[in-house]
Subunit: 625 residues, 2 copies
């Protein structure tokens, strides 16, 4: 096979058509009605009997001959002789003659001779066996005739109908207890790559192992699209194992998906198996993310190779694969849930490829929707949950301007903007407080970034140490004790910051975005002043001053792993991890809101959570609300 | 217990609050990640490790020291000595010194000594073991640092998050293979009423038996709301069986639902069990449909009694019970899918109760949404599928005017107006042609009603015999052979219409809405003319002339059941049911469209199906396209 033919990336539309040409549809099957929910009817279902199956009373009352009520009204009731009674679920043992009536309950069979029913509310008891009827009736009044709901031979439901509660109702009514449904396409998922480990199994980071994100994610997305996912044992980069997994999956499934191993060897195996058993139809699509997509036939089954990065894999799956699975399952395309919004920031882009830009949503103070790009770069899995949908950007668009109106295709119809969108300091108390807010979104990007995003009008709140975010309304805060986290028992006998400078300690710092880092820098500055030294002399003397990590527990965890002797951190972290702590001070964490968004429900909820946050602050060592 | 306290119907809001006061929430549980789709997180999930777990190359290229690239550009590349290679999933066995580089693949561990990666595209092979770098780098370029995606101790997902593919992705990335989720509320469904038979079991219509619609429908609706449905064996109206079913269900479930048996005895048992083991909190709600709702506590479980009619039961379930199940399951209320439309017709209503009016949707020629009431009266199950949603009408509204704007709460976000809405003749060829249209809706109400609804601007097409619907555009049709359907072999030797008049034959007619009936009436008229008789003399002589049934197969089926000797019907029906047929003529069936809706996709699709309908007409005896 000549790979060069695929050097030109395919147009997204061509990719869609190529995938549409694959046959993934399994055979139809018959399932019990009780298990038919969400399935799609494979054929028309006609009624096989009349519903109701008999002329039925629609109310509680008396069955009689309508002609006998002629002239009856409130002032001048007509007396009927009561000759019996009929209950629902029993055969009438009475016949109604002229001037006679039979008591009848809702749903009961109309007795022979009767042609109408009078509601009990329009009657009065008369003498002895008499009933007084105070209204005139026409034949058929308060009677549902046999077959009036649906009659034998009538069309009940057509092919392609998705079975929900109401279809189950109609099918129950016509006595159907099993239905012909479209088969569920089986999708085999083959995971490749030596570096991948299934979640739950132990991970060796030293050798570059990472958890396999795409297998479970793709399996879940397959199920969401109406397919059945089948996971095959992880094949690593072993030629034979991978080939065997691909062939088995192709035999057992309607569609085989793999997600790109980064190793050239995996691609080679896929090429070879496709070459030997099928045909490669397409290699590479002009979209971002997702360029390296493969489409082909594999041992009689359809095959699609997804990109390796999780966001790319899921984006390509949603754009190209899910529609094919839905089509094979006979499921209608979901109403495309889209939302209009204005870009919160300017986003530049120019690579000449169609871009599926992951985007987050936030509502401003007026309830208007703002849209911001979520692009955390190659392989970030957190952007999976930080984005709400996709903005489709054609190849010739060079930038989206701030304020420009864009359309976001939501990941599902259930997606809504978060009630609270915040960014700033990574803080364990805040994490607990957010548990009390319904659907919050918080980006722990540090105080500096938190201030910037609030200023840009993207976020509702910023959580910062030090200077409050300019232009924000402060509505709460707390203090936290910071210092050096050391191994349990403080084996090196660290007493404070001077030891970092003077002793031979391996230190782990936080990145400069962090508010805690700023507090630490100020303390070092103070120490320098005290000693009459240059700040630079002190920082140079600290082994690891430049070794900065992003999150609040990270330095402590490196100490725990034996990679350092002391880490910048919080007393709460030391306590949580069962480590030693050398206190250096307390700092205030402040929550400020965009003044125009203080009334957003999520913002108010966070404020209430802080005001009422007693137990949160009590449970965390070194905290004060 | 004094039932009188419940004589006043409760306000719907009070009913909602009463139900909200019941505790249906089960305990939380832990499920494997692979089974967590659609579940709701019971607690926060923090990352337990750094993702990535190591400093990782983001591209294929060379790991090196950024400082060594100072000044490199396209014109003036800097040469590095290649000292080894690192692949994804393996531990680096090389250290990068000054002026050195190591080949690295995407996702591989950055080797010790290196602090940046240059993309292979920005390099050239140099002499021997040399690599020429054509760009300057900063430390960290093309490197994703350990924990940059998410770091140990960081908040990953909050409580209340619904697990979809993207959450599965993030949880996989942090190696979580089981998650704490909210329990699924178990809902026991007790069916009462002697007349009810489970679908699939044989039905005795003579005794007024009907299929149990509410059990499977409610079970499906429970599942749609996120509960687990448990069906209890049908208890009939037997006191002990019903009491035992209710008590068992209460013990095993978080909520027990029954749907109203029409018999007073069933209500009595429910009252008694509630009285002995719990408390009745509410009886009767001022809504239509659905007045007879019960709310209470039963042997420590919550209890709600639904009305008996399927449409009422499902409407009440959706309005009152589903929100309680979702709350117990921790599921967010779905975005209320609503659609604005204009009333297609005037609808009067005045009963002083809040009305949930089932409504159907249709788009007019301009794509505007029209709304029409679907009210087929007590107990019709077909209205379950003929309505698309509910218009909520406050008690003080006396009518909705034609053209008035109303809001329809759709049964689900997936509901869309049908692509084709037709009404008219019940015809087996049409039924097959509709199979070729995506999401059609057709009401087999007969030619007369079909004409009327087209004239009212409700439907897109009418299917009629005889005179075409006035104002419509005819776009197709076919002929069908009609006559008398008789038992196989025609034992009575029926030869034609005169035999109905002259012989002692029991006949079954069609209702006057039917076009076939009009054709039959004309033939009788002709026969009377021929004989010089009055039409009335002939019809009086036909035994069963007034015995009219609604659907096209119904007369034949009555003959088949031995209830008559001849029925008005089609040759196609006789053939389908294996019966005898006495031809009387052919009639033309015409499809006409609203001139403003001929371009609707469904209308065009039906037209194409008729034009291309060869096999449909060939397969049906007596048809010609």
């Amino acid at each position: 096979m000549d790979r060069k033919q695929f050097r030109d990336l395919a147009d997204p539309e061509v990719a869609r058509e190529t995938i549409a040409s694959l046959d993934l549809a399994p055979e139809s099957e018959t399932v019990p009605l009780r298990e038919a929910r969400g399935r799609v009817l494979a054929g028309r279902v006609d009624a096989d009997l009349d519903v109701p199956g008999f002329d039925r009373a629609s109310v509680d009352g008396y069955a009689l001959r309508a002609a006998d009520t002629f002239g009856a009204d409130e002032a001048d009731p007509v007396a009927f002789r009561l000759v019996g009674e009929v209950h629902a679920g029993s055969e009438p043992d009475v016949e109604v003659g002229a001037g006679e009536c039979a008591e009848i309950s809702t749903g009961a069979v109309l007795p022979p001779g009767a042609d109408a029913v009078v509601m009990v509310e329009r009657t009065d008891p008369g003498d002895a066996d008499e009933v007084l009827v105070r209204t005139s009736l026409a034949p058929g009044d308060r009677v549902m005739f046999a077959g009036a709901d649906i009659a034998a031979g009538e069309r009940a439901l057509g092919p392609g109908t998705v079975v929900t509660a109401r279809e189950v109702g109609l099918l129950s009514a016509i006595g159907v207890d099993e239905v012909p449904v479209r088969g569920v396409p089986t999708v085999g998922i083959v995971s490749t790559g030596d570096e991948l480990v299934r979640p739950g199994d132990p991970l060796d980071s030293d050798t570059g192992q990472i958890y396999d994100v795409n297998s479970y994610t793709t399996a879940t997305a397959v199920e969401e699209a109406g397919g059945e996912a089948k996971l095959y044992p992880h094949a690593g980069d072993d030629y034979d194992a991978m080939e065997s997994a691909l062939r088995t999956a192709a035999e057992e499934c309607d569609l085989v998906l793999s997600s790109g191993s980064t190793s050239a060897s995996a691609v080679d195996v896929i090429y070879r198996v496709v070459e030997e058993t099928g045909e490669l139809l397409l290699h590479g699509v002009a979209v971002k993310p997702g360029k390296p997509m493969l489409v082909g036939e594999l041992a009689g089954s359809a095959y699609i190779g997804l990109p390796g990065y999780p966001v790319s894999a899921l984006t390509i799956f949603r754009a190209f694969v899910a529609p094919a699975i839905r089509r094979a399952a006979g499921r209608p395309e979901p109403e495309t849930a889209t939302i209009e919004g204005r870009m919160a920031v300017r986003e530049r882009y120019s690579e000449g490829r169609h871009r599926y830009m992951p985007a987050g949503l936030v509502t401003d103070g007026d309830g208007e929707t703002l849209v911001y790009p979520v692009d955390k770069g190659s392989g970030a899995t957190t952007s999976l949950v930080e984005a709400d949908g996709i903005v489709s950007v054609p190849p010739d668009v060079e930038y989206l301007d701030s304020g420009e109106s864009v359309e976001v295709a939501l990941f599902s119809g259930d997606v809504r903007p978060p009630t609270l969108f915040g960014a700033g300091e990574d803080d364990p108390a805040l994490s607990r407080l957010l548990d009390r807010v319904d659907r919050p979104r918080y980006l722990a990007v540090g105080s500096r970034q938190g201030r910037r995003r609030l200023r840009d009008g993207v976020t509702d709140v910023a959580v910062t140490t030090g200077d409050a975010a300019p232009g924000g309304v402060e509505f709460g805060g707390w203090t936290r004790e910071w210092g050096l986290v050391v191994p349990a028992g403080n084996p090196a006998g660290v007493e404070g910051l001077p030891d970092l400078v003077d002793d031979d300690l391996r230190f782990i710092n936080r990145t400069t975005d962090s508010g805690l880092r700023s507090t630490f820098d100020e303390a070092i500055e103070g120490l320098a002043d005290e000693r009459g030294d240059e700040r630079r002399d002190l920082t140079d003397a600290i082994d690891g001053f430049e070794l900065a990590v992003r999150a609040h527990e990270s330095p402590a965890r490196k100490v725990l792993a034996g990679e350092a002797d002391a880490g910048l951190g919080l007393r709460a972290t030391a306590e949580t991890l069962g480590m030693g702590f050398v206190p250096c001070g307390t700092e205030r964490v402040t929550v400020v809101a965009d003044p125009e968004r203080v009334e957003k429900p999520g913002v108010r909820r966070l404020r209430a959570a802080i005001d009422d946050g007693g137990t949160v602050f009590e449970e965390l060592a070194g905290y004060r609300g």
